[in-house]
């Protein structure tokens, strides 16, 4: 099938979402099936407004530099379209002779692509609709991991490695609040900071296990007794036994979906205040990593970047092969010792709507740290961290 292509980006930006975009564009340019290559600005909003740029017109060296650039080069959007919106989008695509539609994003984007694909089918319009996976939360079903996670995880691991060294120098308790409303993958990546047995993070709390302040205080007290200091990685989305986000009691800002903003510093500050008060520890500090963990310049995981690029390429290959009318690209790990992934096409519905949580085998029994299995899982995705070292004579000293 010969026709035009439209591609767009959606949801929270990541350090490697442009790799997927450029992977798709470069593959499309030489596919022999695709005429015009349009990029819609700000996701579906740009489709509604027919606000497109001509990606064939961009010089090759610009494409290659954009690929290395964090954030969404076409702009993004937080809007989740209604089924009516998707019909309107379909009308525009049909009028523009778009035969290849690619949407890069999380599970909501897969859902959008799916509704558009269904509408095309219903109207007998020949079009390939593909979703290209992106989420720093790593919460897509049917995938071992998702492009964007490795680099955000690398930021978290590098920050916590440095922060743990900082805490060794000055002592006390340090609490680092990390993104992740429902899935603990990104917070868990803090564990990659650890080299020696007494390195932090000493405690890791994820939304998958109920969090209680009493238990937290007891954990920190135990850690202080063992190591004389304590570094904590905690997910912004930790929930109490009642299922309510602990942060919600401290924050009232909401985003476009009506979700309470969890990135405010309130969770960390309040947890710090509890420790200060109940354990009478003088130096207790909290940082909330916030938005900079997803688009930081210069800390990208090479594996993540390469996989994001290939996911974009695979989507265009699958679409132009004639074998698939729609689908999402999945990334799964080959069995065996060496890290190796395989890309495949799965139905859009298989990743739409629902999300994946951190598997139980990656969380320790006490629910206050990750397991070695998690570290083995995440290390190749995040990559080796830069070399750091301590004096031999200080090993084992708290």
């Amino acid at each position: 099938m010969i026709g035009n292509m439209l591609i767009a980006q959606s949801g929270g930006p990541s350090m490697v979402i442009n790799q997927s975009l450029i992977g798709a564009v470069l593959t499309a340019k030489t596919s022999g099936k695709i005429v015009e290559i349009y990029g819609a600005l700000h996701g579906i909003q740009g489709i509604f407004d027919e606000d497109f740029i001509d990606l064939r017109a961009e010089p090759e060296e610009v494409l290659l530099r954009v690929a290395q650039t964090p954030s969404s080069a076409l702009g993004s959007v937080r809007r989740k379209p209604t089924p009516e919106d998707c019909k309107a989008i379909f009308e525009i695509l049909a009028r523009r002779n778009i035969r290849y539609f690619f949407y890069i994003g999380g599970n909501d984007s897969a859902e959008t692509a799916n509704i558009i694909a269904q509408e095309a089918e219903r109207q007998g319009y020949d079009m390939c609709c593909f979703h290209i996976p992106k989420t720093i939360d790593n919460d897509l079903l049917c995938n071992d991991h998702t492009p964007g996670y490795g680099s955000a995880g690398r930021f978290v691991a590098c920050a916590v490695r440095g922060d743990d060294l900082d805490n060794r120098a000055l002592g006390g308790v340090k609490i680092d609040v990390i993104m992740g409303r429902n899935a603990g993958f990104l917070t868990a990546a803090a564990a990659l900071a650890k080299q020696d047995e007494d390195d932090g993070p000493h405690l890791v709390y994820v939304p998958e296990r109920p969090f209680t302040v009493d238990r937290f205080v007891a954990d920190v007290a135990q850690c202080m007794e063992t190591y004389g200091r304590c570094v904590v990685a905690v997910s912004e989305g930790i929930r109490g036994p009642d299922g309510k986000a602990i942060a919600e009691s401290f924050s009232t800002e909401t985003d476009a979906h009506g979700n309470v903003q969890l990135t405010s510093g309130a969770l960390g500050e309040n947890l710090a205040a509890v420790i200060r008060e109940r354990l009478k520890i003088k130096r207790v500090r909290a940082d909330t990593f916030g938005f900079i963990q997803r688009c930081f310049v210069g800390i990208t995981s090479e594996t993540d970047a390469a996989e994001a690029r290939q996911a974009g390429e695979e989507a265009v290959k699958a679409a132009t092969s004639g074998e698939h009318r729609s689908g999402t690209i999945t990334i799964n790990r080959q069995p065996g010792e060496a890290y190796q992934v395989v890309y495949a096409v799965a139905p859009l519905v298989s990743v739409a709507k629902h999300t994946r949580e951190l598997p139980a085998e990656y969380i320790n029994e006490a629910g206050n740290n990750v397991t070695d299995a998690f570290v083995a899982y995440a290390r190749p995705i995040v990559g080796e961290l830069p070399v750091t070292a301590r004096f031999v004579q200080l090993k084992g000293r708290s």
Copy 2:
């Protein structure tokens, strides 16, 4: 003079303070004047406790890896000794036959070294006392810049570059709160993120100029009108016209010196709330970079690392040359186009106690941004940032 050496680290850690430590140790090892090389743990606290490690016993490859490691490998301390403390310290140094004493830190550390030097002089004890400069705040007198600043500045610039790309993708107002209680150098480094005219940071507020909320709101409104979005870099230490820190009204935590903790997220959150309310902008976000900006692993400025190493080397060379009984190493820029620095020895009193502010020529007239002169000043210290790019067709589009 032949004798033993003691070295220690003080104050807030930095990404390159271990370069200075290792530079000093490696130079001492081959000086022919220095017998034992002791490292005191946690600054003067380790001297009081005679808690030393033998730095000659550390393998060379460990020293070289420690040099690349952020934070203070010997541990640090926030304690500023009294003159009585300094006398007690002197007694310990004399008993251990310490003839070379090096203290790496900011202006308080220079003051400590100075009092100890005076005590040695008074008692007729032959000893060289040197201060090796370190501060991410870049606020030491008699220096063009100080080791630690370039790397922390690089973190800030990389974070704001990514954050500005993030803000382009999703729009609205983003406020980044950056360290700097009294000096605006680190916040000003955010300006290095900017490549194109419409890039952020669009507004930069430093403690050197009085800050008013009304003026801030007007600046953001103007920026939204011009660019349709706004990225703000603001120093944690911004003060009102009455000289009081704006953050103080939002935070009550104090550090060991009784200073109010400015790193809490309250300043950013409150500024964001003001913009949301008064300008009716829906998407307003704030991040407080916090402690991770000083010890992050993997973002060190190469120039900063090399200069920190050489500052340590120069201190030992100056001390063992026999030409100086005490002093601090200064780093100043050679005149001319090419970036080149010269190291010199200055009296301890010249950097002790007082601090330097961001010069007036580096702040624009409106007091809401830095000048090109600042960017020219800071760029070689921070180093070139990783390549990022935007689509040609989007240049100039907000």
